[in-house]
């Protein structure tokens, strides 16, 4: 029997690794305001949850994080550190609630420690990675999770679209897991919500994967207010 080398295996496995809750970047501590929705009795059933997560996808994950990730991926591919830092700065500026920024930059720093700067090769791109990792480690740049994710994904051979899809997917499963620990949702119900959200994930990635960095903006006032109220919440199991 002969084995044919599989050029896509590395990228595919990276996508699995990055979207797996096993990745130790503290994703399980973030609810991005979901805990506050539950605290205030705004989510009662699977339909509420599906609608809320669809709104997160369309108004935050798509227009903010996907745009940041896609442009970080492009900047990494072009070896353009300036552009990469500009994307990071803009994402910081459009992420309103303090706890959202903290959850994202803490996870970003951990992903950076784990996976950035260890793929140096002859093309000089390792320099960009190292410079970026330095900037994150020294707080010269915020180091948001989608931005670091874009760099990691690009360096390990994921296409821009695959990177955006796997990131949006892991955002959804992260929040579904949070919902399950906060409320009382059955595992089959949660899977049904996930299934219903898959087309939305694909839709927002298609819509935003080619956006310019200047298009990065969020419009999710209620989610942002929930995120801010969470800072003083009567119950806090989550960091955001």
């Amino acid at each position: 029997m002969t084995t044919t080398p599989d050029p896509d295996a590395g990228a595919f496995l990276t996508a699995l690794r990055l979207s797996d809750s096993f990745l130790p970047v503290g994703g399980y501590t973030a609810s991005y305001g979901l805990e506050q929705y539950v605290n205030e009795g705004r989510i009662e059933d699977g339909d509420d949850l599906r609608e809320l997560l669809a709104a997160y996808l369309r108004r935050i994950v798509g227009p903010c994080e996907t745009v940041a990730l896609a442009n970080a991926h492009a900047a990494s591919g072009a070896g353009d550190l300036e552009a990469l830092l500009a994307v990071d700065e803009r994402l910081h500026a459009v992420t309103m609630p303090r706890e959202f920024r903290e959850s994202s930059t803490k996870a970003g720093a951990k992903l950076c420690e784990l996976l950035v700067g260890d793929t140096t090769d002859g093309d000089g791109n390792g320099d960009l990675e190292n410079a970026f990792a330095d900037a994150v480690a020294t707080d010269a740049t915020p180091g948001h999770y989608p931005v670091v994710y874009g760099v990691v994904a690009q360096r390990r051979g994921l296409s821009r679209r695959q990177a955006c899809l796997s990131h949006a997917y892991s955002f959804v499963t992260g929040l579904l897991g949070a919902a399950q620990r906060l409320g009382r949702f059955g595992h089959t119900e949660i899977q049904a919500v996930l299934e219903a959200l898959e087309p939305v994930i694909a839709e927002v990635c298609t819509r935003h994967v080619d956006d310019e960095p200047t298009a990065m903006a969020s419009f999710a006032p209620l989610a942002e207010i929930m995120g801010m109220r969470h800072e003083r919440a009567g119950r806090r199991l989550f960091m955001s």
Partner: protein
């Protein structure tokens, strides 16, 4: 300077076994011995809880050396599979206090299977109490068997819950092999010296 440069002591164990009570006993003793100490409590439920903690150490520790870390209802994950948020907090401590000697990390109350990731804790105390049942040690939970030091707390309550300290001692010795365990009463402080001695010898002098 980062989390790798400071000694880290983990305290795990079931809900209500006396982890916080032990931290409150250890901190003043460590400060009296001229160590600069930081404290992290996992699974603080409200900001008020964090404030209570900060107040009880007000005369001993800088307020920014006392912190809560929320673990998203996953206390075991926070100290075992993915300690990243605890490590990030320790990094914040060391950034502001480069002379920090030791950080005590109290896990959220958990079951008998909780163990600390060795990158988060150089030394790991597992705190159980006699009031949870005298058979706890012989269940051989990973926390009980793998901890660097097993602490059996609330010895004062033994007579009230029909727990036989001799049985606990024999069982603990059997399941721990050569590894140490101590009895404590955090109400009057009995046994706390022995805990300190272990921590100092194994972590701070190491």
């Amino acid at each position: 300077m980062g989390y790798r440069d400071v000694a880290k002591v983990g305290l795990g164990g079931p809900v209500g076994s006396g982890k916080t009570a032990l931290v409150e006993r250890l901190v003043p003793e460590l400060v009296a011995r001229d160590y600069e100490v930081g404290v992290i409590a996992n699974d603080i439920m409200t900001q008020e809880d964090a404030d209570v903690f900060r107040e009880s150490f007000a005369d001993l520790l800088a307020p920014d050396l006392v912190a809560g870390v929320e673990t998203g209802a996953c206390p075991h994950t926070g100290i075992r599979e993915d300690p990243s948020m605890n490590l990030a907090k320790i990094d914040e401590f060391t950034e502001r206090h480069p002379d920090l000697d030791v950080v005590l990390v109290e896990s959220g109350g958990d079951n008998l299977a909780a163990t600390f990731n060795p990158e988060l804790a150089d030394y790991f105390l597992f705190v159980i109490s006699v009031a949870e049942g005298e058979d706890i040690p012989r269940k051989r939970g990973p926390g009980v068997t793998q901890a660097d030091l097993l602490v059996v707390n609330k010895t004062d309550l033994a007579p009230h819950v029909d727990a036989d300290l001799e049985v606990i001692e024999d069982d603990a010795a059997a399941v721990r092999g050569d590894d140490p365990f101590v009895f404590t009463n955090c109400k009057d402080g009995a046994g706390v010296d022995a805990v300190l001695e272990h921590v100092e010898r194994e972590v701070l002098f190491a």
